[in-house]
Amino acid sequence: MWVTLSAPFGGDVEQQQQPRFSLYGRLACTMAAAVAERGSPEGEDDGRENTATEEPAGAPGGAGGQSRLARLPLSRIKALMKADPDVSLASQESVFAIAKATELFVEMITKDALVYAQQGKRKTLQRKDLDSAIEAIDEFAFLEGTLD
């Protein structure tokens, strides 16, 4: 079922080019609005989150953290996935794959935003660097209009 989303995608032409997905646009806007209201308090249940996906046996110390399997908690990822009403079941591997892909995404967008900070001769990554990266890079087009 194609739901017409007005906010995230702007004009009709862009809508046609966007891949068809059901809920994420609406959800993203809802989330963005809600997060804006709450702010983002530090010291949430971060440390106590289930990070059982880390493999201390195979990963001595925390050298770069690359040797760990997944840093994002699979339980949280799964909960996000389940928010999509079209999704009934997801295999453990698929949840892991999404978690890992998301980590790679965070790395990528961080590094791409860094370019703009460096252009501005700054040593601190700012929100506007992120906006510039999103605008300039095709792969980030899905983010347009979804962040507050």
Binding site: A28, S40, E49, V87, S88, S94, I98, A101, T102, L125
Partner: protein, 143 residues
């Protein structure tokens, strides 16, 4: 506990760590930028899930699998992720297999111990019964 979509942010500490490791030394990140990256990551999860789900539905499957995710990532034009993702998946599958075998062993161990305990307690019951009989026998004699 019902989770509303707006509660489903990814943990700040983890996101911050990933960001810091992606940046060279001496570069900082503002709170607003961190928050925005975290939001973007959540949106990414939703988008990738939706995309992967399309592949599963096309194949008439109700369960999302890792292959659907890989296909989605490619469709989203994040091909650069495919190789590291594949490698991570292999490692994950191996570790899951190890965990499964370990828990199988634990279970068998527990069952064996439970049997031993049952045998032992049965022996104790028998001993107690014998003691009672002796006690009764003595009382009768005294009477």
């Amino acid at each position: 506990m019902a989770e509303r979509p707006e509660d489903l942010n990814l943990p700040n500490a983890v996101i911050t760590r990933i960001i810091k490791e992606a940046l060279p030394d001496g570069v900082n990140v503002s709170k607003e930028a961190r928050r925005a990256i975290s939001q973007a990551a959540s949106v990414f999860v939703l988008y990738a899930t939706s995309c992967a789900n399309n592949f599963a539905m096309k194949a008439k499957r109700k369960t999302l699998n890792a292959g659907d995710v890989m296909a989605a990532i490619e469709e989203m034009e994040f091909e650069r992720f495919l190789q590291p993702l594949q490698e991570a998946l292999e490692a994950y599958k191996k570790s899951q297999k190890g965990k499964k075998e370990a828990s199988e062993l634990k279970r068998k161990d527990r069952e064996r111990k439970a049997d031993d305990d049952n045998d032992r307690s049965r022996e104790e019951d028998i001993e107690e019964e014998q003691d009672d009989d002796e006690g009764e026998a003595e009382e009768e004699v005294e009477n």
